[in-house]
Amino acid sequence: MDRIEQSTSKYFTLVGNPNCGKTTIFNFLTGLHQKVGNYPGVTVERKEGKILYEDDSELTILDLPGTYSLSANSPDEKIVSDILLGKHPTVPKPDGVVCIVDATNVERSLYLVSQIIDLRYPIIIILNMIDVAERYGIHINISALEDRLGVRVIPTNAKKEQGLEEARQALKTSLRIYPLVRQWKLPQIAQEKLNELATMLINYAHLTEEQAFHEAITLLSTHRSLDLYSSTYDKIILERVAQDYEYFASQEIDRYSVFVQSRIEWIRTLCKGIIHRESKRHTVTDSLDKVLLHPISGGIIFVLVIAGTFFAVFSWATYPMELIESGVHWLSSFFESIIPPGSFRNLVIDGAVAGTGAVILFLPQILVLFFFLGILEESGYMARAAFLMDRVMNRVGLSGKAFIPLLSSFACAVPGIMATRTIENRRDRLVTILVAPLMSCSSRLPIYTLIIAATIPPLFIGGIFNLQAIVMVALYFIGILAALGAALLFKSTFAKGKSTGFIIELPPYSIPSIKNILYQMWERTLLFLKRAGTIILFASIVLWYLESHPVQPNVSPGEQLANSYLGKAGYAIEPVLRPLGFNWKIGVGILSSFFQRELFVSTMSTLYNLENSGSLVDGFRERVTQEIDPLPGKPTFSLLTALCVLLFYVLALQCISTIVVVQRETNSWKIPIFQFCYMNILAYVATFLFYRVGLLIF
């Protein structure tokens, strides 16, 4: 995690409920002056940006995950509350908070706002989606709201960029706003107990006044066992809390709800007379939901949406992929014409260009997938899909909430695993994390595409179904079935327990902001190119070196390769992979995949000298079908071998980023290690069985 720059410029955080339009506002405010953490996509990763004003002053903005409260029940909420309480290890306390309030849900959004006011931050409110509220027949007296809260409230329609410039300017001046004072009131007895406990926390645990107030409420209303706090607080404090519980019970005060309820009473009073709702209006969302959530029409549309997405990934990307391919080819010949023959030319052309080119080729497919996932998310359909899939997910012991992370994992398991943060149930979240990497992510796509195009005959079965397409669909299904099967197994063994309670907010449908989606795709492209330009470039050069050294003069290219460092390493691991029908070259590909899955393609490209052939796929097909494996005397890449490699790649976990993110999200090494072992053992055993059975058939 990168640090907020230690500078004199002030910094604000953006805080708001999920689906309040925070990302759009952040993008507008900071423009291109953003620093994005590893994984964008859904707003789960931290994003930091700068507002540059005309007078050269600047303001740093940190976008925080969407949250309903600071109760720290989920990892997302914990990040937000840790930062705002000044407890986060790397992120300092902000100088002020920009609260984004959804104009269609003002009362609910004010719950979070009131918690931030308690922390005595200077705040400013952006009242977003004011247009939607008007359409719903909700009228808000903004100046009255400002007066009652004592805060600047700026109405905006972020999608149309209305009001945002005003918000940008207001942020600059609002820095002078003095912190607010808590307005909500507790019943006297509760207030007394709260004050006493807060004082103890200040004296014994050395908390600040604001931290103590927040922590005292948490301790008094928590549903967790106090034992969980034993490492954080002295026994004397926890004993006091336990006494307070008894006292509340004797006074017939429900300690779980008294704090929440008092806050809500205050919000209701505050909003009285300033928010006017016309009697029920039928909205577009209501009508759409009738069709999209209907048991029959909803199910059909769901299947069409998902199928359409994948269809687009494969058909739309063809043309840009051809362009990239000819670009790589052109680059190869360009270097050939300017660099004299020799080692350096080989390094550039055979190593760098061939290796990275083979990977960049697949960028369009990945982008199309992100584009569609972005549309599903932005339009509000994603939550509906989760709602529809609750029934299916229940069969394997999970709730519909697990659907969004699993669907995102088709793009990349890393944002998928981060998206599990919204799952309230801890066991469900763990199981979802464990199975998410079985969904075929976009880094497997290059491998699938290359091997299928090169080895599966483009036959049309029954005149309409393309065999290549069938194999591709089958790979995705194997991944899905494996994930569901593994989830079922885990949920009926160590993560036993019914998934309790499914709660999901269904945001109103809206036209996706293409600008936002393009923004995400741009971030994705930069990330991808950065990786291609660093790890993959470096690995390609290393691979080239290992396969072309030690240099042996006067031998055939094949012999040169077989006696190279890489060849020897491949032969060394061959015994392990032989039972799966893999020769040493595939072995090298698999080994390199453990650094980065796509490296399989670069490796094949380098090993088979594909940089000289017209197209990657054609060249690969030509070489692998001609090459005879000396041991069984059959082609190295028979149809069966190809299917075995594909199956292995569906099931194996070969991604350092995934392992790192699982470790970070679960705060444990045991889980990623277990995941690594179970997936790779599954891949090995399944491929072995498939190969053995295949030998009998083919």
């Binding site: 109760s71 709800s257 309820q261 969302t285 939550a383 499914f502 109103p508």
Partner: protein, 79 residues
């Protein structure tokens, strides 16, 4: 006002009610509260398949499953 207290899951599509109390486990109760399921809040049903329902609280649509809806007690409002 009637004294008729029934689970939220018993409401049919189009009907409205006032929330009396929720008897769900505390950790879920907190989440429900934050989403607007609080005593005296008005709720209406926009979708109910028996297993899952969608309620409208002010302008927010919240999907919940039967296990929760069975334990949220409401008083139907006649319009």
């Amino acid at each position: 006002m009637s004294n008729n207290v029934i689970p939220l899951s018993h409401l049919s599509v189009g009907s409205s009610a006032m929330i009396i109390r929720s008897e769900v486990p505390p950790e879920l109760r907190q989440r429900l509260t934050e989403l607007g399921f609080t005593p005296n809040a008005a709720v209406s049903i926009v979708f109910n398949s028996g297993k899952r329902l969608i309620c409208k609280l002010q302008s927010a649509r919240i999907g919940i499953d039967q296990s929760l809806a069975d334990n949220i007690m409401v008083t139907p409002l006649s319009e």
